[in-house]
Assembly symmetry: C2
Homo-oligomer: 345 residues x 2
Amino acid sequence: MAPASNSIVPVSGISREIRLAEQPTGTSGESLFEIVESPVPEPGEGQLLIRNAYFSVDPYMRPRIGDARAYVAPYTLGEVMSGGAVGRVAVSHNGRFSEGDWVLHLRGWREWALSDGTFVWKVDPTVAPVPAFLGVLGIPGFTAYYGLYEIGRPRSGEVVFVSGASGAVGNAAGQMAKILGCRVIGCAGSPEKVEWLRELGFDGVFDYREQPAMEALAELAPDGLDLYFDNVGGEQLEAALGALRNHGRIVACGSMSRYEDHEPVAPRNLFMVVTKRLRMEGFLISDHIDLFPEYLARASRWVADGRLQHRETVIDGIESAPHAFVGALRGESIGKMVVRVGDEG
Amino acid sequence: MAPASNSIVPVSGISREIRLAEQPTGTSGESLFEIVESPVPEPGEGQLLIRNAYFSVDPYMRPRIGDARAYVAPYTLGEVMSGGAVGRVAVSHNGRFSEGDWVLHLRGWREWALSDGTFVWKVDPTVAPVPAFLGVLGIPGFTAYYGLYEIGRPRSGEVVFVSGASGAVGNAAGQMAKILGCRVIGCAGSPEKVEWLRELGFDGVFDYREQPAMEALAELAPDGLDLYFDNVGGEQLEAALGALRNHGRIVACGSMSRYEDHEPVAPRNLFMVVTKRLRMEGFLISDHIDLFPEYLARASRWVADGRLQHRETVIDGIESAPHAFVGALRGESIGKMVVRVGDEG
């Protein structure tokens, strides 16, 4: 049965999707993936069929690909890469959704997605352009929010440092810390990224490829940090441990510095957790996904009133996804890297 | 004016005390200290004069001696080493204390101590032998209690690993985890120490000089750890990070592995704080000292009913303190290392 909606008719009865084809042995290459054609699936009772418009490629996916030191559920060879995607409901046999609804879901790198409605959320495309629901209004924004508000709990006037600050999570974390009245320092890996952080209102910025983090923090936060939102681990974490004030906190959100199987840089000053009475706490947003709708409502207001800005790097065509993913890992994008696979209809 | 109490008369009007004489440049030697004679001080209004019976030498004192990476307040050259001591009130011009009272205080390595009553607590020598108030019924026991109950918060049935478990803090932490109904694993650095941990009721023990921690934990806690009480840092911390289960906790209490200016071993798997959603939190007991009397009351009951055992290594004579301190740093003591400087009269 072909999808019934007028505006969302498949070009053919074929859905292209991207599967994990091999385990990486070193630096990730595009050959990890294969593009496969399969019939557009037919929704059964309670199910819905979604025509994707965009899906997300994220650095955090890297350690889930064949990493013995497994991160959450690892990806399985031969399966479609899961992850955030936005699209429109083409056929609904589920009372919660109507044909034509825009939805965010987690079924990933494919043109057509079948779902039973679990982890599918309606989104309002009048609030922001659709790709934003993969970034600031999606799981990355929610990750920043949860980490900052629930783990870090900064107070107005505190000094917050965000690494990987031009990434989807990092820029949101920095902007939210500004909303809370903090003084925010961010680092990123190119002059263009650093310039964007300035535009977003970060109080201090530096390019970690140009200046050692320890030196930059001494200049930008001479009285020390209260909170470090860590997206990268390694050298930045060591510098932050050195710069944190007594009773400081570290939100352990990611460790991008080791995602490409580099030998991780281990902080030599971890004993400062004792001497400075620090708290370092990790979290995975998948544990808290039931709180996402609450975040979406709150963040939508911030986006509407201009307090929370967003930026996406859009790559065209499902066949470009492996290239986009490798680019995201290499830090080639600013803001959220997304792949366009359909019309915004 | 000579002290008035009948039973506590100074042999002479001279009080010997131990001062920090030089900054260490490498491994600590006894030459760091000098023994100095000075007149027994005369208490003024509101003050009391205490005749010490024992004082404490502790590994944590090491990083406070001329450590650029300062730990709490560093010791100052030429000053008497502060720290736990027990003795009797010889003269009191302070309404809270009477002559003859046994007290615990923090005025350290000296025969006679003058105090205004701050950080002085009455102790009951019928509960336990006096040296125990420098160990399980003193600040080390309180450190174990605060770290375990307030930072670690284990529940009955959880698996707890304690490093430096034969030390004053470590053995108390392990025993208290047993009181809470946990399964407790401890490591120490000699067959005799490990045997003592067995006697204390630890469920699993190993000698870290004989077996790598990672291997031992895999054997003793095949299903992983819920909580790690860290007294040493370094290799044990790395092994614990590997062995902790999701949502595990690390009580960052000390980092003895680096106290002697060794290049600290940095855990290469710190990213697991993210993937396993760990919480690692440091504390210094000096921040919480107002809660000590509450601890003392509770722990006294545990000691009285035999649930909390204790052991002290007693070294005789104030002139032996530098030697005792170096021995404590080298792990030569079992339980609490104390120096006897007066009668128990």
